[in-house]
């Protein structure tokens, strides 16, 4: 996965993501593609969650999956999550759950309840950072005011780090793949460097949904695992999504 929250020089916030999934879940030799990733693509849907005939939040989802991986609360915040690998992983949380220790939250149920119930960027950030979880994760959160963009690096119990946009430091975007931002990514899977190169080449004045889509379309940020790209603009309350393909040559991950 790759998620970005960026602020242009007029203070507009854009949030984009590639949802990559299906690694090692069966390689289709003939079509040079991952089996489960290809089976997920027809399931990609955009959802308008409504209460009292009003939109509460919108999401890009896989039909049948009740949790949230990508969503926007129009004019309030935007949220995506990326997978985080850790030895202290979800299987420990599941074991605890089976043994009756049920004070943790399933990852995508947490994001769903935040999108449904949080009413501000700060409230969403607090809940994502402080709620005990069954599995580690990265939460990438965008708000509706200048500087409101962050990456929350979560272990199952703790919030290890919150990296925020800081225009004074020249950090006009935050970008997350699947590795802690204070460490080098796995050398076999460095999507961060090419993604940041393209963001820096775009420059802050030219940031838009269009140029963000360009960044997310550049290999290996786009790879064989990429099922969809979603672009969100909180001030417009807009969410749009596109199912992707990666023509050869293309990285398997």
């Amino acid at each position: 996965c790759t998620s970005v929250v960026a602020e242009d020089d007029k203070g507009n916030l854009f949030h984009g993501r590639n949802l990559d999934f299906g690694l090692f879940l069966g390689w289709d030799v003939k079509n040079k593609s991952w089996t489960v990733s290809e089976k997920l693509k027809p399931l990609v849907v955009n959802l308008d969650f409504r209460r009292n005939n009003q939109t509460v939040f919108k999401s890009t989802n896989f039909a049948g999956y009740v949790g949230m991986l990508t969503g926007i609360k129009p004019h309030v915040f935007t949220l995506t999550m990326n997978e985080r690998f850790s030895l202290d992983g979800g299987y420990i949380g599941i074991l605890e759950w089976i043994l009756g220790q049920r004070d943790g939250m399933w990852m995508s149920f947490l994001t769903r309840s935040v999108l449904e119930n949080a009413n501000s960027y700060e409230e969403a950030k607090t809940r994502l950072a402080q709620t005990k979880m069954l599995a580690p994760a990265y939460f990438i959160l965008g708000g509706n005011s200048t500087g409101q963009g962050c990456i929350i690096t979560r272990s199952r119990l703790l919030s290890l780090d919150v990296l925020e946009i800081d225009l004074k430091l020249g950090r006009w975007y935050v970008l997350e793949t699947n590795y802690d931002h204070w460490k080098e990514p796995l050398f076999l899977d460095d999507r961060r460097t090419p993604a940041m190169k393209c963001m820096n080449q775009t420059t802050q004045p030219k940031m838009s949904l269009k140029t963000m889509y360009d960044v997310l379309s550049t290999k290996p940020v786009l790879n064989k695992l990429t099922t969809y790209t979603t672009l969100m603009q909180v001030s417009e309350g807009s969410l749009e999504a596109y199912i992707r393909d990666c023509p050869n040559p293309c990285m398997p991950w």
Partner: protein, 123 residues
């Protein structure tokens, strides 16, 4: 230009938007989920239209599971144990998952597996 050895990095793309060309397969359609409905009814419209694709995806995962455990015991475990787990899931998720299983006709355990796959995948 692109390098033809992994990781196949290429020059930063431009003018990809509006989405077009070989990296764009399709736009994504819209559905409404009415939160005023009972949880078990919220996903019926989506699932009615997508149940064949959902069944195909779950079949692919079952094929994979059977490749690892040919005896089929793993699938049996999913179909027997995970329905018991659905009642431990917080509201409204357990009820929504039951509604999806009913609307799709798929075994409840396999729909539960799909919904907790993030935690399971770490295994």
């Amino acid at each position: 230009s692109a390098q033809f050895i992994p990781p196949f990095t290429e020059d930063c793309r431009a003018d990809m938007y509006p989405p077009n060309g070989p990296t764009f397969r399709a736009a994504v359609g819209w559905y409404t989920v009415d939160l005023d409905l009972p949880p078990s009814k919220r996903w019926t419209a989506v699932i009615t239209e997508k149940k064949t694709d959902l069944a195909n995806m779950i079949e692919a995962i079952k094929d994979l599971a059977n490749a690892f455990v040919p005896s089929g015991r793993l699938i049996e475990l999913v179909d027997i144990a995970l329905p018991l787990m659905v009642n431990t899931l917080p509201d409204p998720f357990g009820e929504e998952i039951k509604g999806i299983a009913a609307a799709s006709g798929l075994p409840l355990g396999e729909v539960v597996l799909f919904n907790i796959f993030y935690e399971v995948f770490t295994v």
